[in-house]
């Protein structure tokens, strides 16, 4: 089994290095094919491991020692257990699909090979993140995905907006990673180990305050990676990257790392339920907050990005309330349909020559039949309609909220479910139905390549059937996660809730269709309203950050640059250099080659040496007296 583990882990790395060899050369189809095959190998190995884990066994290897100093011992250890194998399956499935898809999507791009190198490197980092058996390895993967995310958001580096977005994502994540690092230090400081099993075994003996600090700092890291409020602004801006990147990194895998961390640290969060409640409340808030922004946005990819944010909020609600398996299940289901939605959006973007405004599209279902079907499927799954994947996972989260008696959270999530349905079908209606508004702009839409559509089909199938894995999945993953089942006791209440939710969601869908299917032009009246302005400007949060954090910081930096750096640091350095320079200038006359002046210097040297000799001789002779005087001074 170790062999499969290593194949699953390292074949993306091999792919990244291979494609990196051709990084600077023009497109070679070879890299795309080789990398996709390596990813497929990784997927197959993960599937074998999944079968192994389903039999109730786990794999734990220690590849080699990494840091061993004093009491600190950190190996490169990898573990395949019920939680990590879930993540591995999600990561390898989505990334294999995205790799094949990218062969088509990046067809005409100059950086084709470079793209594949980055993409495979990302998958490798993500695998390290989920497979590591200790916090240090997790952190390496954590930073690795951050780096690859930066590289890929800024992939089209000639675009100012792309580099800006890449830097924003990178800096925001660094801020959060500092919290994460402090959390890891605290874990080591208090438990003496970074291995999950050892650290979590010691934690029950620690006092509550310490656990709280560890929980808070680790969660700050999770907030950054999973773009939770107030560190959420980078995710929407990250849509500057190529669409496959958005599908893989900013929807299916990397942004869910925060959820994975909370699930992984479930013994810790189990002991601090107050923190759990905070996580759940923040999750519910973000779910609604992001959904409201998605309602009015006019950028196809941003709408889906806000939707991702909102669904991450759902996951955190489940994780915060202790329903770790539900969180992980929603993570998995969400990865499938959200990646599908993004890839569909990528097809539409290609057809529309990179246009992102759905108001300029419409009626595309005729020319893009398959994309239309897949995006509709994904949207239905996202909205949570029975019997697609979203129903099983999202409904479970709602039930968790209800059963745990957090009715406020439940209500917020229910309303958000309605909004989710509305904005998803607003998008579908605007893109695929109604008049063909794009004709005015002279677009000639065409369906994507056939192999691209075939590559997307596994995701479409999974988005439909993933819900049926629920009981198998529950049996597997609850071997290491708390196996709380969330059942509402009265059957009447349960059925009322399920049917009520379904009806509410379907109504929201119909409302969206009714409003946007015969969309003619923008509603100027509505756009003047305050609500619209607040939402389209993302609650003015980016503006606030720009005005009150970035600009003051910039001014402060300018002051420090001009006052401190130029006038103190630089001046000191210049002063030393000038001093030496002037000393050289002034003493060069000593070496003028004139015999007479050399003789004078020689005499001067002799006099100095002689006086020194006399002085030392006297000092030695009167040593006792001198030391007596000196000790008198000291006393």
């Amino acid at each position: 089994m170790e062999l499969y583990l290593y194949i699953a882990l390292f074949s993306p790395l091999v792919g990244a290095l291979f494609a990196g060899l051709f990084g600077a050369s023009p497109k070679t189809l070879l890299t795309g094919v080789v990398n996709s095959s390596l990813l497929f190998a990784s997927f197959l190995s993960s599937a074998v491991l999944l079968g192994y884990v389903l039999n109730g066994q786990t794999v734990h290897v220690e590849m080699m020692q990494w840091i061993a100093a004093g009491n600190l011992y950190i190996p490169f250890g990898f573990v395949v257990d019920q939680v990590s194998v879930t993540m591995m399956m999600v990561v390898t499935t989505v990334s294999t699909v995205v790799h094949v898809y990218s062969i088509g999507y990046m067809d005409h791009d100059k950086g084709f090979n470079r793209f594949f190198s980055y993409l495979s490197a990302f998958v490798f980092s993500m695998m390290v993140l989920v497979m590591s058996d200790n916090f240090a390895g997790l952190f390496i993967g954590w930073e690795g995905v951050g780096l690859c995310s930066w590289l890929l958001i800024g992939f089209w580096y000639h675009k100012e907006s792309a580099t800006w977005a890449a830097n924003e994502a990178f800096i925001m994540n660094r801020i959060a990673d500092l919290g994460m690092l402090i959390g890891i230090f605290l874990v080591y400081w208090n438990t003496g180990s970074l291995q999950y099993d050892k650290a979590f075994a010691v934690m029950p003996t620690l006092d509550n305050i310490t656990l709280m600090y560890i929980g808070v700092f680790l969660f700050i890291g999770a907030m950054g990676k999973s773009a939770q409020f107030p560190l959420h602004t980078w995710l929407a801006d990250a849509m500057e990257g190529p669409t496959p990147v958005s599908a893989l990194i900013h929807a299916a895998t990397m942004v869910t790392a925060g959820v994975y961390l909370v699930v992984r640290a479930n013994p810790l969060y189990h002991m601090i339920p107050e923190m759990g409640l905070f996580i759940a409340s923040l999750g519910a808030f973000v779910a609604m907050f992001a959904a409201t922004m998605a309602l009015v946005n006019r950028d196809m990819k941003r709408i889906i990005a806000y939707s991702t944010l909102s669904q991450l909020g759902y996951m955190f609600v489940a994780a915060g309330l202790g329903a770790y398996w539900v969180a992980l299940f929603h993570l998995m289901a969400h990865a499938f349909f959200k990646a599908l939605l993004f890839l569909g959006a990528g097809n539409v973007m290609h057809a529309m020559d990179g246009e992102l405004d759905p108001f300029k599209m419409g009626g595309l279902r005729k020319s893009m039949k398959w994309t239309f079907i897949m995006m509709t499927l994904a949207s239905v799954a996202l909205a949570g309609i029975y019997p697609l994947a979203g129903f099983f996972s999202k409904d479970a989260i709602l039930e968790v909220g209800f059963v745990e008696h957090h009715y406020v959270i439940y209500t917020v999530l229910l309303l958000t479910a309605g909004m989710t349905a509305f904005y998803s079908f607003r998008l579908v209606a605007l893109i695929f139905h109604g008049e063909e508004r794009y004709k005015v702009f002279g677009f000639h839409p065409h369906e994507a390549y056939k192999f691209v559509l075939i590559a997307m089909s596994p995701l479409a199938i999974l988005a439909v059937i993933a819900g049926s894995f629920k009981s198998t999945y529950f049996d597997m993953v609850t071997k290491i996660l708390p196996n709380t089942e969330y059942h509402i006791h009265s059957e009447v209440t349960e059925w009322t809730m399920i049917i009520g939710t379904q009806l509410f969601v379907i109504l929201a869908i119909f409302f969206a269709y009714k409003k946007y299917i015969n969309f003619k032009g923008e509603n100027k009246e509505f756009e003047k309203r305050l609500v619209y302005k607040v939402l389209i400007n993302q609650y003015y949060i980016p503006y606030f950050y720009e005005e009150y954090i970035t600009k003051p910081y910039r001014e402060l930096s300018t002051v420090f640059w001009k006052k401190v750096d130029m006038k103190v640091v630089d001046a000191t350095v210049d002063c030393i250099a000038n001093g030496i320079y002037k000393a050289g200038e002034n003493t060069r006359d000593m070496q003028n080659g004139n015999l007479s002046s050399m003789l004078r210097w020689m005499v001067a040297g002799t006099v100095i040496l002689l006086s020194l000799a006399v002085a030392f001789g006297l000092a030695v002779r009167y040593a006792d007296e001198i030391s007596a005087v000196l000790s008198g001074l000291g006393a």
Partner: protein, 101 residues
């Protein structure tokens, strides 16, 4: 007043100072040689006086050595001086600047 060791040493010091001044101030190479001779002989006076004072002949022996060394130095030095004069027509120290860095 009896002439004692102190007088000899003072004489030696005065001579040495004169020689040192000469080495520092003179620009004529020949005068420089004279100054170095004064320096060496100032030391010789000191050696001879202290040798006599301690009744130890080693000092006087050193004085003879120094005289011999001074003679050979002057012989080599004067040879070089004459050679220099033949080539350049002067023996001014300031003009000897081919070693200028």
């Amino acid at each position: 007043m009896e002439i004692g060791l102190t007088h000899y040493l003072v004489l030696s010091t005065v001579l040495f100072s004169i020689g040192l001044l000469g080495v520092m101030r003179r620009k004529n190479l020949l005068m420089l040689f004279f100054a170095t001779e004064i320096l060496l002989n100032a030391v010789n006076v000191g050696f001879a006086a202290i040798s006599h004072y301690y009744n130890d002949l080693t000092g006087q022996m050193f004085a003879f050595f120094i005289i011999a060394i001074a003679a050979s130095e002057v012989a080599v030095g004067l040879g070089l001086l004459i050679a220099w004069y033949k080539r350049h027509g002067n023996i001014n120290l300031d003009a000897m600047s081919s070693m200028r860095g």
